[in-house]
């Protein structure tokens, strides 16, 4: 029994990933979360002095709050198990990653545990977000100063 032969047996007996079902579940839950986000945005616009542009920030903060409550009660875990990317891609997923790591680290103390572990999952999102933003802005700046492109 060599590895290649084994890979073949393993392939036959491992259930295939349900691509379509997962994609559909992700679409539905992701869509609903964004629709809720739209509702929150409208609420901020109607009842507070926010415009389309500025309401986005307030909506994101509110969504992260909601994901904190759901994560703490252990409900976001079930949503994630069902929806996969549908619950991870929206900003509530980012909130869930930070909050779940923070809750996890509590037994190791607030400084080393919570502080040290909080961005274990979501830190890469910030790193690559800021990193890519920096390089893209730099590239555009160079292109503009060369006159290839304008702002």
């Amino acid at each position: 029994m060599d590895p290649q032969e084994y890979q073949q047996i393993e392939q036959q007996n491992t259930p295939p990933t349900p691509y379509l079902k997962n994609a559909l579940k992700a679409f539905l839950v992701g869509g609903i979360i964004c629709a809720i986000g739209q509702a929150i945005t409208f609420l901020y616009i109607i009842f507070f002095d926010f415009t389309d542009k500025t309401a986005g920030n307030a909506t994101v903060a509110t969504m992260v709050f909601i994901s904190m409550v759901l994560t703490g009660l252990g409900l976001y875990r079930k949503l994630g198990a069902f929806a996969g990317a549908g619950s991870a891609v929206p900003v509530t997923g980012f909130g869930n990653a930070v909050v779940s790591a923070a809750i996890e680290g509590k037994t190791e103390g607030l400084v080393l545990g919570v502080g040290g572990n909080m961005f274990k999952l979501a830190g890469s999102v910030i790193l690559f977000g800021v990193g890519s933003a920096f390089f893209i802005a730099l590239i555009k700046l160079i292109l503009v100063s060369m006159g290839v492109v304008e702002w």
């Binding site: 409208f42 415009t51 542009k53």
Partner: protein, 128 residues
């Protein structure tokens, strides 16, 4: 809140609904601006407030043309500014402007309307 409810009732037919309230009742100017808004057929609903030398035009483009919202806004802004250089014009496709300006349609007191329009214009400039 009343104006918001009316928004829901408006049928999703594609005919335009353009409302204008003109405090300085310059009839000719009013009709001209209304015509210009109606010409840009991408606009689904438009609400205009004319008070003293301020013009606030809140528009909403047809849903599926959302991508070009900014371009349409800029085009209309330029057109009206050329037509009325002395007026202080702002065209915005922001929901806030639309809903607030619809409230102002029923507002009688000119002073209040003018302050409100100025406040909305500052709001529009805010970045974060």
């Amino acid at each position: 809140m009343l104006s918001l409810v009316s928004l829901f009732l408006v049928g999703c037919t594609n005919e335009q609904t353009v409302e204008i309230s003109d405090m300085s009742n310059d009839e000719e100017e009013r009709a001209e601006i209304e015509a210009m808004i109606k010409d840009t057929e991408e606009v689904q609903t438009g609400t205009t407030i004319l008070v003293e030398d301020d013009v606030l035009i809140a528009i909403q483009v047809k849903p599926w043309l959302g991508f070009k919202e900014r371009k349409i806004e800029a085009k209309l802004q330029k057109e009206i500014e050329e037509k009325y250089p002395d007026l202080n014009v702002l065209v915005s496709s922001d929901y806030k402007m639309l809903w607030e300006s619809q409230k102002l349609l029923e507002e009688e007191d000119e002073k209040k309307v003018s302050d409100e329009v100025k406040k909305l214009k500052d709001l529009a400039k805010e970045e974060t």
